[in-house]
Subunit: 233 residues, 4 copies
């Protein structure tokens, strides 16, 4: 298959620019964190280079990889989390974007290995219930990717807290995954603060279902960044 | 009645610009949160569109609605909270502005269904006592609006914490409601932090009354954004 | 005595500009908080107007008052805290600047009526020991000013936590008082966070004395914003 | 030995510019905090002047000192922490940069005299285990420097929490030490927040070793700011 360079360039542009949200919402520090986006119609994805400052990210220095994580185009090394992103793309064809951060509150829940209970309607809207915990994994091979896929497959949540590590989010495209990363930290922070002074009131499962279904189908300008009920595709 | 386009345009300008305060004070993330303003002398209000980025909000893309929440002018869908705003305008004629956010500390109190006790003089000044809790409500009809109106009617507070959800504030106009949203989060945060290490000292009811009455009548440059004692109008 | 207009203008410029620090360090929201500075050689001080937005503060709209708090020059009303500032200037001739904020952590300690113990060396340097609590006071007359003066007279600390209210700081000049306001919030936050997970280690009184004496005499470029040991003048 | 002015100027430029990170990550307030960098091939280092505003720092007003902390070039006084920096450079020849801040969360742990346990993988990557505590020290002589060197010699961590005081970090060069200061505060904050609601899960020592070794050898663009396993040089 020949590569559609216009499609690649669009994803390069999109992935480079979306990193601004990670900075703006204080989800990352130094050169930590990364975003990737699948090139539609190709077995390729675009990901952030490793160890490059956020204000030096451009469409041109993003890295193009195949679904084994092998660099196809790129002068820098790809993100050290590339293997995890690649594993997700290989095994979840409905996923078009992946984000990883060590955002403070999400990582604080992850360090305790504790899922975030669904006690605010914004979490029911966005994640359809609790944000789950994935396994401890340390190695630069497929271990992290397998943990993400095993936890999120068949789960409403687009976010997983990897134990002692940080948060990975998935989405229909890179923008959707970034939105999930922003909302996951917001939920993690709000529920943490609520629990500091007592027990939040649980939301009944039927109410969570109702909120999730309505939000996935009704909210917003029906743009392509929102995904339908219970699935990304 | 013919529509006074100058009046509509002034509210469009005002409502669009006021959203900057929600961003500046970190009360909102992504496209969440919304502000509306009544068009003086008309059964109309202007509200934020749904799902549009904050840096793309302009007077032109604000949505004009009637008091049933039906769109009169606007290319985008109105905020998904439009029904709640409309219900407030229909039932509280003294209200000229409504704001909704999921600001962190206010939502943390709301998730526990706990009113914020009046332990700082700034809260006595601005809200005249505790910030109350409204009912849990999930549906996109009048349920949220009814909860707001039932809680705030006859109450000094211009802010209500909707259980498990977030905060709604009202005001004489949109700016006044925005001020209430900013102050509500500040009060929620300060009282939360104070309570983390012990019990704050209550303020005696007579002192609260004195502070509230003085502030509503004396403070500021006697501009129209301040409302007289115990009522918005 | 004739008024030295150059001296007045210099203080107007200084006081207007210094408010930027209150915004930059998140010590204030909306139009809250205020700074004043004494006009050297005159029974006059310059203070922020009431209810004016921070980005609209200019040397020209600052208010010039006499030491009874009576407006000498100014189109706006002076800060609603003007009586308290005036009382301090009348009763503490060594004070050249006063700042008032409701900064979050300082106010959280104030709401519990609890002094901040000296457990970090930066607090020993800057305040020479604990930051004390002043009385509850609600009225727009001299009550607040009397509480400030009674608490800070003969005390090393340039900051006082007014119970249930907020923080007042004093200094040799307005800049020195602003520095004290910035440092007071930093100390209030750091000690709060330290105490959340256990008891901080006290610093021995002799070590506090040593730190305070050294800092007051050695630190910085020997500029006029630093005050000598144990007194402002 | 003649001084290589180009080398001195490069370090002046680097040290001045790196202070922007301390501001951007909210590690410092007012004129607090300082960075220094060794001049390669010389017994000299460049350090921030004392008591100068952050937005007035330039390559020209940085201070050049010898390894006894004596000023060689500079109109201002050097940082009041110069003796501590000098002691480190004299006694740890592999160190090319030193940073000191009173960043909030690191100082909160320091005030309790408590090391930060290694419960997040980012800490294992960057610090290879816990962040240790150094002794209480108050005097402007070598006491602080001796505490830093005694604690960090032979330790994987490039950061030390000085009891009741703040944090010092070291690195191969100034940028590496700044990165350590940024990461130390992030770790201090995340672990603090995690512990607020329960006990974080420890990471097994073998997993910490594996993470540290991999990160020190693999991560990033193999730039000179990363240091090899277990040592700075």
């Amino acid at each position: 298959m020949t590569v559609d360079q216009t499609a690649v360039d669009a994803v390069r542009e999109d992935v480079a620019r979306l990193h601004d949200h990670l900075v703006r919402y204080n989800l990352v520090i130094w050169t930590g964190g990364n975003i990737s986006g699948r090139v539609p119609g190709h077995d390729l994805f675009v990901i952030k280079p490793s160890g490059v400052d956020y204000d030096e990210l451009t469409p041109q220095n993003m890295i193009l990889c195949d679904l084994d994580g092998v660099v196809i185009e790129g002068e820098h090394s790809p993100s050290s989390d590339t293997a995890a992103h690649a594993y997700v793309y290989r095994n979840m064809p409905e996923v078009g974007g992946v984000v990883h951060t060590h955002s403070t509150y999400a990582t604080a829940w992850a360090a305790r290995g504790e899922a975030i209970p669904c006690v605010i309607t914004g979490q029911a809207d966005e994640f359809g219930g609790e944000i789950p915990v994935g396994p401890f994994a340390i190695i630069g091979d497929d271990t992290i990717g397998r943990g993400i896929v095993a936890t999120l497959t068949g789960h409403r949540s687009r976010a997983v807290l990897m134990q002692n590590h940080g948060v990975f989010t998935i989405g229909k495209n890179a923008r959707d995954a970034v939105k999930a990363a922003v909302m996951a930290e917001d939920v993690a922070r709000t529920v943490h603060i609520s629990r500091q002074l007592g027990e939040p009131i649980p939301i009944a499962p039927a109410a969570i279902d109702s909120l999730f279904n309505r939000y996935q189908n009704v909210y917003g300008q029906h743009e392509s960044t929102e995904h339908p009920t219970g699935a990304l595709a």
